[in-house]
């Protein structure tokens, strides 16, 4: 479990939390909002660690006491983690929680609740939880997190101290990849821009899980302008086997064409995301006019949105590839 001082990025939030801990002005509820994979959970755990530590140093967890060791092992009795069961966070879970907070904490001064994906709360659950937020009991601290704050009841939003997480900076992702994935600096630097500011995504890439798909997507990018209609249709079928993969593939293509467009106007390699494929990028850059790139990007973007919105994957891909084909042919 990381300490607050070890959190990568999110300077403002870290500072705010440290101030609160040192000034003994901890809110009874925090809401961490922001895109996934940027570190909301890490900060939540670090904050929980600091709140439960028996001998905190300048507000932060000491890392050695019994509580800190329990946290490290993931078995602190006063730290409760609540997340969606199936697709939603349900009223039974909130009732259970409401029962728990009535009891004294086992060993420290307080209960700490980390509540993940609170946007999945059913309306019943949210209404019920609202009561708990209105009348906090004792020293209990709730740390809520969501990547869809718009989906929350405004009354819940306004009862929490809100912390807006933003995508990490490139150099922060580099730092994270070096620390958690033991990458060397050069590799990390090549990989980081592809993460879109999400260390979680970067780590996934580093573990290699996403590489085959990327290779496939980039192969598509190369064939895109030469393929005939039949090939386009065959490709669409091939890519459409898995909705998630298809969307991911289009996301990769988007970044690729984005790079081509950006390079056209800036001729600055540092602005490019696909740092590991510069040669291939620069080679392709000469083949496209900006108007065409813009059109391809728009179409790809829309197709991806449609697929994410549950449209028929194969038909969407077919339409996309045939359109792009018609641009070129």
């Amino acid at each position: 479990m990381p300490r607050i001082n070890e959190v990568i990025g999110h300077r403002e939030i870290v500072q705010t939390l440290k101030n609160a801990l040192q000034r003994n002005k901890v809110a009874h509820a925090y809401l961490f909002m922001g895109p996934s994979g940027v570190g909301k959970q890490v900060v939540a755990r670090a904050l929980a660690g600091a709140l439960l530590c028996e001998s905190p140093i300048e507000g932060d967890a000491c890392g050695h006491c019994r509580s800190c060791r329990q946290n490290e092992g993931g078995n602190h009795p006063d730290l409760h983690i609540v997340g969606p069961v199936g697709t939603s966070l349900k009223i039974e879970q909130i009732r259970e929680l409401q029962k728990q907070v009535q009891y004294k904490p086992y060993q420290g001064q307080r209960h700490v609740y980390i509540m993940e994906k609170v946007d999945t709360m059913t309306q019943e659950a949210a209404n019920s939880f609202l009561k708990t937020l209105e009348e906090p009991s004792g020293q209990t601290v709730f740390i809520l997190s969501t990547d869809q704050p718009y989906a929350l009841l405004p009354t819940i939003l306004s009862r929490c101290q809100q912390c807006q997480f933003r995508p990490l900076r490139n150099q922060e992702v580099v730092e994270g990849l070096m620390r958690y994935c033991q990458l060397d600096k050069d590799t990390a630097k090549k990989l980081a821009p592809l993460s879109g500011g999400s260390l979680g995504r970067g780590m996934l890439l580093a573990e290699g899980g996403a590489w085959p798909l990327r290779e496939q997507a980039l192969k598509v990018s190369q064939r895109l302008m030469q393929m005939d209609e039949l090939e386009a249709l065959r490709l669409a079928e091939e890519l459409s086997e898995d909705r998630g993969q298809a969307a991911e593939c289009l996301a990769i293509l988007l970044l690729w064409f984005r790079d081509l467009l950006i390079y056209h106007y800036t001729e600055d390699r540092h602005l490019l995301m696909n740092q590991d494929k510069l040669e291939m990028l620069l080679d392709q850059a000469q083949r496209y006019r900006p108007g065409l790139l813009l059109a391809i990007i728009e179409e790809t973007k829309q197709a991806r949105e449609r697929i994410l919105a549950n449209a028929n994957t194969r038909m969407t891909l077919e339409a996309l590839l045939l359109k792009i084909h018609s641009y070129g042919g």
Partner: protein, 552 residues
């Protein structure tokens, strides 16, 4: 020590403390003094402008044991009960929640009882536009014959969603956005009272960022106080909000106007490296452009040689980008594209040409001449089954199993020739058919999936059906989130199949591009956004909302 948000600790307790709404508070105080309080009020206005606060002060003033010049005393037992939130005579109902629905249901019974301690029973119904039809009916009946001891205060951010029958029975007050100067004054008071050191520049920055909502302003001040080392400075506020200094906005506008695409893209990348929130930056850009435009129209140009047309073109692109970024998983990309287009208006032309070719292609696809017939490995029945098998009656819960997908060839009842509906890009518009059957469908939904029914009944999305795809357009992005659940969509798809046969696909979208026929101009998000940046007075609706821009 427990944290209590500033806006809750510093909620005004008297009319006198309510900021920026004197036109309302004075009228209410007069009514109180003259004993001419209405039976029902409708408070409309943007969030955080004091609607609920005013309602509570009114409730206190009505029941106060020692009122003075139309103000509540705030220390008698009735006032204290309201302040502590346990008055039996002041009932707050949040129409957005289940609790609200239940409470409205037996409202008619309950209003008959006379107040137990005070003189009046006050019902404050928040977000009243969220009520279901049933609840509206119950409310209407009560409003038609209100008992003498009851006062209703209905509050809403969206008055246009409240039925006219209700509107006509209420005295309406429009709360306005609070002006920055008024806001700064209040912020200064609160900061002083809460012992928060904050400098003047920071106060103005907060007031600007809050866009007329005091609650947002206080929430930013809260965050500022928690973040700052001692005095809250403008820099702290910029850090928290992720906003940028004025000169950066200036350079960006100049790059765009001068066609310096490369420089514009470089600048954005620098901002991202600094950890700035790009969506906020885009929002700031729209406000900044708006100010430039207004200055220029009113002849206060600062010597910059950017034409109004060009300013408007930039504004339009960035407003759209800001909207799109809200939902995009790649907001940076959305912004970059907008900047390319903004700085290269000439690219629009080539895009149009491409779009035309696409339209041609879609026609070919739709007529089946190209190129599917040459692709034997793609299964497509030459003759669609004229009477598709209806779902077996034993299948009760569609979410339990996969609905078989036959993407091509959709037959909807008789009379629609199947070969025209071969691919969804060229799918036949069957909106009429589906709309016609919709009430029946709703009947089934009501019995089968109550929460979905409540949602659809409440939001009344407009509907479009192309081929086998039914798209529901929700005005509110919040509602899209509520509706766009696999469970609901699967259910609707199954139900559509049951009613119209065949397999269907349902999409829920934010009404960015609703069918023109069903879109009232005032509901156009571009219009709403224009009102946000310009204020209602400056935005004029012409016959065709897409042409109000005057720029192509």
């Amino acid at each position: 020590m427990a944290y209590k948000a500033l806006y809750r600790t510093w909620r005004p307790q008297k009319f006198q403390d309510i900021v920026g709404q004197q036109h309302i508070t004075r009228t209410l105080q007069n009514a109180l003094l003259q004993g001419k309080v209405a039976h029902a009020y409708l408070f409309c206005g943007p969030r955080g402008t004091g609607k609920t606060t005013t309602a509570k002060v009114l409730a206190k003033a009505l029941n106060c044991l020692e009122p003075a010049s139309g103000e509540p005393c705030n220390h008698c037992q009735n006032c204290l009960a309201v302040n502590e939130g346990n008055s039996v005579d002041v009932v707050e109902i949040d129409a957005a929640s289940n609790r609200g629905i239940d409470e409205i249901r037996d409202l008619r019974e309950r209003v008959k009882f006379t107040p137990s301690t005070g003189r009046r029973k006050v019902y404050i119904i928040d977000e009243v536009h969220m009520l279901t039809d049933q609840a509206f009916n119950a409310l209407l009946k009560t409003l038609e014959e209100p008992p003498g001891h009851v006062v209703f205060v209905l509050a809403t951010t969206e008055a246009h969603k409240v039925p006219v029958t209700i509107l006509s029975r209420c005295q309406r007050f429009d709360f306005r956005r609070i002006k920055p100067a008024e806001m700064v004054e209040r912020l200064r008071e609160v900061a002083k009272g809460a012992a928060i050191e904050v400098n003047e520049e920071a106060l103005w920055l907060i007031a600007k960022a809050a866009e007329g909502g005091l609650r947002d302003a206080l929430s930013i001040l809260d965050q500022g106080a928690a973040f700052a080392v001692d005095t809250v400075t403008a820099g702290d506020i910029h850090s928290i909000l992720g906003t940028v200094q004025q000169d950066i906005l200036q350079s960006m506008v100049k790059f765009l106007a001068d066609g310096k695409t490369g420089e514009a893209l470089q600048l954005v990348s620098k901002l991202a490296d600094l950890g700035k929130d790009l969506r906020l930056f885009t929002r700031e850009m729209t406000t900044f452009l708006r100010d430039l435009l207004v200055d220029s129209i009113e002849g206060r140009g600062t010597g910059e040689q950017i034409s109004n047309d060009n300013l408007f073109y930039l504004l339009k692109l960035l407003v759209q980008a800001e909207q799109d970024m809200k939902w995009s998983s790649q907001p940076g990309l959305v912004l970059e594209l907008a900047l390319v287009k903004a700085s290269r208006p000439e690219l629009g032309g080539s895009l149009e040409a491409l779009t035309q070719r696409v339209a041609e292609l879609e026609r070919q696809l739709a007529s089946g001449t190209l190129p599917r017939s040459r692709a034997p490995e793609i299964t497509m029945p030459a003759e669609p089954n004229p009477t598709p098998t209806p779902p077996s009656p034993s299948r009760t819960d569609p979410t339990e199993e996969k609905v078989p997908v036959t993407p091509v060839n959709k037959t909807i009842k008789e009379g629609i020739s199947p070969e025209k509906t071969s691919l969804h890009v060229g799918g036949e518009d069957v909106s009429g058919v589906v709309r016609q059957g919709w009430p029946d469908l709703m009947g089934d939904i009501k019995n089968g999936k109550k929460p979905l029914w409540i949602l659809l009944n409440e939001t009344k999305p407009s509907l479009e059906a192309q081929g086998n795809i039914v798209t529901l357009f929700f005005e509110d992005d919040f509602d899209v989130r509520r509706a766009d659940k696999p469970e609901y969509k699967k259910y609707l798809e199954w139900l559509l199949g049951k009613h119209f046969s065949g397999s269907w696909e349902v999409r829920c979208v934010h009404a960015k591009k609703p069918p023109l026929s069903t879109l009232k101009p005032e509901e156009d998000p571009v219009y709403t956004e224009a009102v946000r940046i310009f204020g209602k007075d400056l935005v004029i609706l012409e016959n065709d909302p897409s042409e109000t821009g005057g720029v192509k």
